[in-house]
Symmetry: C2
Subunit: 556 residues, 2 copies
Amino acid sequence: MSEILEEKKFIEVPHKGLFFIPLGGVGEIGMNFCLYSCDGKWLAVDCGVGFAGENLPGIEMLLPDPAFATTILPNLEGLVITHAHEDHLGAVGYLWRDLHCPIYSTPFVSEMLVSKLDEVGLLGRASVEVVNEGDALDLGPFEIELVPVNHSVPEATALFIKTKYGNIFHTGDWRFDKAPVIGKTANLQSLKNEKILALVGDSTNVFVEDALSTETDVKNSFVELLKGYKDKKIVVTCFASNVGRIESIAYAAEQVGRKVCLMGKSLWRVEGAGRASGYFKDFPVFLTDDEAKFMNQAEVLYICTGCQGEYKAALNSVSYDVGNVHLGAGDVVVFSSRVIPGNEQAIANIQNRFIERNIEVITTKEALVHVSGHAGKQDMKKLYELLKPQMVIPVHGEIMHLNEHAKLAHECGIKQVLIIKDGDVVHLDIDDFNVIGEVPTGILAVDGKKIVSISSEIIKKRRRLIEDGSVVATVVLNSDNNILGNIQFSAVGLIETESEEYTVLNDFVKSEIDNLSSEEKLDNSKITDVVKSAVRKIIIQNHGRKPLVDVHLVRV
Amino acid sequence: MSEILEEKKFIEVPHKGLFFIPLGGVGEIGMNFCLYSCDGKWLAVDCGVGFAGENLPGIEMLLPDPAFATTILPNLEGLVITHAHEDHLGAVGYLWRDLHCPIYSTPFVSEMLVSKLDEVGLLGRASVEVVNEGDALDLGPFEIELVPVNHSVPEATALFIKTKYGNIFHTGDWRFDKAPVIGKTANLQSLKNEKILALVGDSTNVFVEDALSTETDVKNSFVELLKGYKDKKIVVTCFASNVGRIESIAYAAEQVGRKVCLMGKSLWRVEGAGRASGYFKDFPVFLTDDEAKFMNQAEVLYICTGCQGEYKAALNSVSYDVGNVHLGAGDVVVFSSRVIPGNEQAIANIQNRFIERNIEVITTKEALVHVSGHAGKQDMKKLYELLKPQMVIPVHGEIMHLNEHAKLAHECGIKQVLIIKDGDVVHLDIDDFNVIGEVPTGILAVDGKKIVSISSEIIKKRRRLIEDGSVVATVVLNSDNNILGNIQFSAVGLIETESEEYTVLNDFVKSEIDNLSSEEKLDNSKITDVVKSAVRKIIIQNHGRKPLVDVHLVRV
């Protein structure tokens, strides 16, 4: 499918007025990264990663391209991180060198950030300023309040941004939880009397109709559930950053006389950041599995990483019965998580391995063991009733989510709603609420230690390697243009090492070179072409694939 | 994760007694292929493909390994195909040369099979015998009746197999549809008085609680739905083999004054097989898109392949606005299909492309536009009440499905239920209903024109190519063991063609060879090792990847 490449014309963002420009996260889930501009001064909000699909072989993580952001330096006043999820802060370590601005976030987010910056050698270079929930933060023309909201990670905040042109409410990831386990129910009453010019809002759960259960409901449900497995081994898996969930599970464990053991690197990272910011204080130090393995297993509860079926996570090892935790018939594994689209089969494979050994698997289908951190339709309606924004921009979603969110906003009586895409420059002006043009945007891929464009030659060739394979042929010619010895071939992942096919290739390529005239044999590119087409001919015939062919020609 | 490889001991299947041996489809969805043995004579049922996941790069299709089946020739009396779905007949073209037995199926299935055999040059060699629904078929000790059941393809049959040891009911893929569009409601009353020793049953929809709607409900729902898009362009996508669905849509199209246009190769293949077996007879010849494009678009309805988001299918082209069908704001695309797990994101991507252009997308969430062809819990209970089998073997599912099916069978009062896996030899004997041992089984991959083991070196190396890349280096040494010229490198998909990294590699590899003693330089394997480790060192340093390295050493 050839994409029609338009010659895009980019604009310069006016030096007067208030503008919103998403560089990631609008039209896709992940890579949240956006800019606000007010009279030529800039504010960045969030800087997250995305996850690559099958079409980008060898790539796990994606980043929003910061190219445009680099053009606004040194007018970038700061980067505010709304909460500690990878899709909101995961790209900071990769892109901070391009932004070079101070970072602001709540204590828990800062702890998480510092641990990440440490890993990439940026600790002490990138400044991370702690801002408490509810505190004000003045960054040039932006007067910002970090407003606590409920979400599946501690200290998630919405941003209430005051400017001379009007006030913005940037929701971040949020919901109303009437009985959270960590923090209080999001209370936006103080904003009721503020005039909100524009609301930039999370669309993730816009297809969810009903009001969600509370985290306290989940906690209580866990207490009841665990009672049913008195003498059994219990393993629970959840998203590592969900500190409230870990507390819910730890509370339930305590109620049934079990100590919590954490398994998996990211859980321990969160534990560290959590304790440093005052969480888990009602719970004793968690056990490692090396400690827990010697205990009575009816007095332990294991919490594992790997709820999305990740190959390298703790739960996968448990499913293969490798490591310190050995489950048997009648034991139970609880998936205290949702299924992120795309991970269905990986998760099912792990569940099947448990079921095969008669280990019970409990998911949200069987019990209230998870609740989403995103606002569904009911919460969104409540928000619109309360804040009555003049204009709405749906973000944080694929186009289908943005579209549905726009419908909902209209239903709530919002007259001005804009569906936009990454790179759009939106004028936040009640009389001219519009996309006035575009700035450059794109997606980068983390390729091992390198950062490359997702349309780079490297990735394209890697796709060809899978579909068609590659062959490297080394041909040695003497001064009389005769072939010396056998042609050496490498056809990794295409022909087995000990295959007779190499003889066939050798004979055919040799005969094709021999057929050339003496003059043609002097022409390196002619010989290369002949070798390439000879190799392709054999491979197409035998494999039905048209490989990439490289020729190493040696003349001696 | 290292699998523990057990030394498996295989048994010889006894020459007395009745046995069931699945070679595929038990413990996985797809690759249905099983054997029945009665006093040393054999019957094969179905021979289907599976679809490969991300962990098998370059592979689309999987086949059950027929190795064991080849050991029972010439006692294999025949292969009966229950219905025309790929996971039941798709492997015949690949494996028939190994089985070399007559094939039996209903007229529509035979038409589909013949068209596939034609493609692989087996037409006229493999004999396909037509058996009408309800007819009896005697194959050695097996007296077989093809019993019509309802499914999402015409002429699906269960097999009622009489033997001297007792009767088997092999459900195939089935459901009870009270108002099908093609065929009649499955009527198993005639079997009510038969004694059923063993039921081998479809587990696909065992997690579905409710009784399903009928295909006629879907048809009527389509009529109502289409009325809402009077002057709009309408595109519907569905599974190509679902002839009943195509008739439902064609009927609804007719009701609102539209002619049907088919788009996509597999739809036309089914159309051909369908008309040849008497379907579509109430409908005029379908249009091609070349014909339809000149018509008033309000008088056309397009049916496209690609409901699973397939890259090469018709709907994907439509979503890119490439080809003859150009949709615009207010037009509609109906997904008359379910989402096969694993295809969620591919389907969402296509839907997003439509929604982006304000084209409406209708799925099963919005309207009754699809119904499954598999029995849910209600239908399964009805079946057990009617047939009262003495023993039950759940098949056609992952372990979680087999397990749930076993629970359901127990709830229905079946005392003897066995959960088995591919390769298990089950003795079908009321007093000894048990797995008596195992025969060899496995999975093969269609790799272009080759058929390879899924654990072949080729596929393992292909995974390494993606994760770590590969480098081929050609080193030329003269008779004094000095390096001639520059070292030539190929690092496809790892280093860009015009990268300066090749200079770095060249310099480092050369210096590493130069550091060798004169004696070491005479040792080819020493030089090869030095080159490999030098290349790896640079690539690990620059890319964080540990590539496969091949060295072409040339001595002149």
